[in-house]
Amino acid sequence: MSELMELNYTVSNEDFTRAGEASSDVKKKLKQLGVSPDAIRKVAIALYEGEINMIIHAYGGKIKVTISENEITLILADKGPGIADIDKAMQAGYSTAPDKVRSLGFGAGMGLPNMKKNSDKMDIQTEIGVGTTVTMVINI
């Protein structure tokens, strides 16, 4: 499949004020490429939640977005603490976010479920003490 564009971002640790920068930028680029609003919304939601998770639960990380003719692939890799129980983490409402984060409106435990719901394929590779890589594919 021919690749049209690759975008790379670094998400910095604990910087809530900049959360969403990667998602906004990707959204703008997809608009320019004429991708459907429906697919753009899915990408924006999935990527924003992933970005927030890297800030809250890991120590920041890297995002790679690949846009090809039929699909958009989002790869979010962090060197955070890893996820002990993926099934539990995927449950709506499950969250280990601290109170400080909750007071900002995050930590409802809806992030991973939102990511799953808005992507056509999602895969989580994680190792305790090493990090987590979430890969999501959205068909366009």
């Binding site: 004020t17 969403g20 906004s24 919304r41 924003y48 409106g105 930590g107 409802a108």
Partner: protein
């Protein structure tokens, strides 16, 4: 109704200007992850969550405007971000339900 029509209601004060757009509904929620997943594009989003991340969510979901209810305190970074993103932000002393009802009745 247009976003600018809200400014004609004495209960609402415009904090940051924006490009003109249509308000097609009303959405209420303070949890950003829920708003991120559910806020309909074109809606007036009524919330008491007044931080810079509220703007990020509003921008990504393409809501028409944000209404900060209950006279909540907000900081200047929120307004700076609103200008940057071109999203109208209003404040009101009304509770969330009353603010939403007022917008809904004016649609």
């Amino acid at each position: 109704m247009k976003v600018s029509d809200l400014n004609n209601l004495p209960e609402f004060t415009l904090l940051s200007d924006s490009k003109e757009s249509d308000i097609t509904g009303v959405f209420c929620c303070d949890l950003l992850s829920i708003a991120m997943g559910k806020a309909p594009s074109g809606s007036a989003w009524v919330t008491v969550m007044a931080n810079v991340n509220t703007l990020a969510v509003a921008s990504l979901t393409d809501v028409a405007c944000i209404i900060l209810a209950e006279g909540v305190a907000f900081d200047s970074t929120l307004i700076d971000k609103a200008r940057e993103e071109g999203i109208a932000v209003f404040k009101t002393d009304l509770p969330i339900f009353d603010a939403a009802l007022l917008v809904n009745n004016s649609l």
